[in-house]
Symmetry: C2
Subunit: 215 residues, 2 copies
Amino acid sequence: MDVYEAIYRRRDVRRFRPDPVPDTVLRRILEAAHHAGSVGLMQPWNFIIVRRPDVRQAIFRDFEERNRRAASHYEGERRVLYDSLKLQGILDAPLNIAVTCDRGRGGPHVLGRDSVIDTDIHSTCCAVQNLWLAARAEGVGVGWVSIIDPASVGGLLGLPEGVVLVAYLCVGYPTEFEDGPMLERVGWSRRLPLRDLVFEDSWGRPGDDLFREVP
Amino acid sequence: MDVYEAIYRRRDVRRFRPDPVPDTVLRRILEAAHHAGSVGLMQPWNFIIVRRPDVRQAIFRDFEERNRRAASHYEGERRVLYDSLKLQGILDAPLNIAVTCDRGRGGPHVLGRDSVIDTDIHSTCCAVQNLWLAARAEGVGVGWVSIIDPASVGGLLGLPEGVVLVAYLCVGYPTEFEDGPMLERVGWSRRLPLRDLVFEDSWGRPGDDLFREVP
């Protein structure tokens, strides 16, 4: 699949078919993640394939608890809409993948990781995006569950000191790839025009030159 | 370009030809970045296209200062090798792009951004990876300069309170796309085997099942 097609047709998927993802496909997706750039070639990531029902049930309970708190930020119609949204597929997906960052990998000083210590987290997020796009090219859906407590889930996964959970992903064949983001379709939010997000040389100076040929 | 080809042939580029990147190409690359997923469709990113020589000179001076400190972590042969590496192309590239994250965008509570406040930073990194891959498909090189002080550079770019610099990128046509990571080629570091990075159900439990067909 063309890289632009993968980028534009990638979705955050929460509804999955139960069909398993073949090992060959899963390896290709993980290898793509592993080929992200990383600061100083640190490769701080690990991938924990989570299939065991009891582990996933425990993680799902953490989601439920955190989601009750998150929901309390909304009232009235917005709350009704919030409660109607499906925000994860932890138990429906045939597998989950926890992507972690080992903050000590590569020794006490990693080339390029000096003034910005979180560059290892940034690299790990780049790996997640590679994973997401490769999965899309394979027809596999990925949903990033952000409404969990990383420390609790990290405990359930046995992460050692110094290793943090960055992304908890639900992975499998989706019931469908929708045309656009779910939050746009249900009227929760909308995509901003790119033109409003581009500046030239300093914050607030419109990037009009770049869009002068665009109607 | 196929998404896997873009992923495997993407490089962190530090040597650029001076040829300008056409506006149409730059818009496609930025639009690809803007189509990353983001927590609650927050789209916390902005893109500052930096072309002005005086701004880039000031940012280059910040790099030089930070790099002197970073270099002091190495001694002997390792220091000689470190000093020989070209780690940025701030002045050589025809343009730089600062990718920022507005931590207050979308109001006081953003759907999905609750227990993990840094999900906005994670989303911004996913946008950077989209940008990087789209650029690769266009034959455009990108180098992420991590050896800068984000607060100083943010000041030079006039970032307001609540907006942080996530990635400072050098962008342009490269002298070449090398076959593999520069740090591997010069013997600084090497790629880890994926097999060693995959676990099953909990940290430390080898993911051998996934690799059983692989020699």
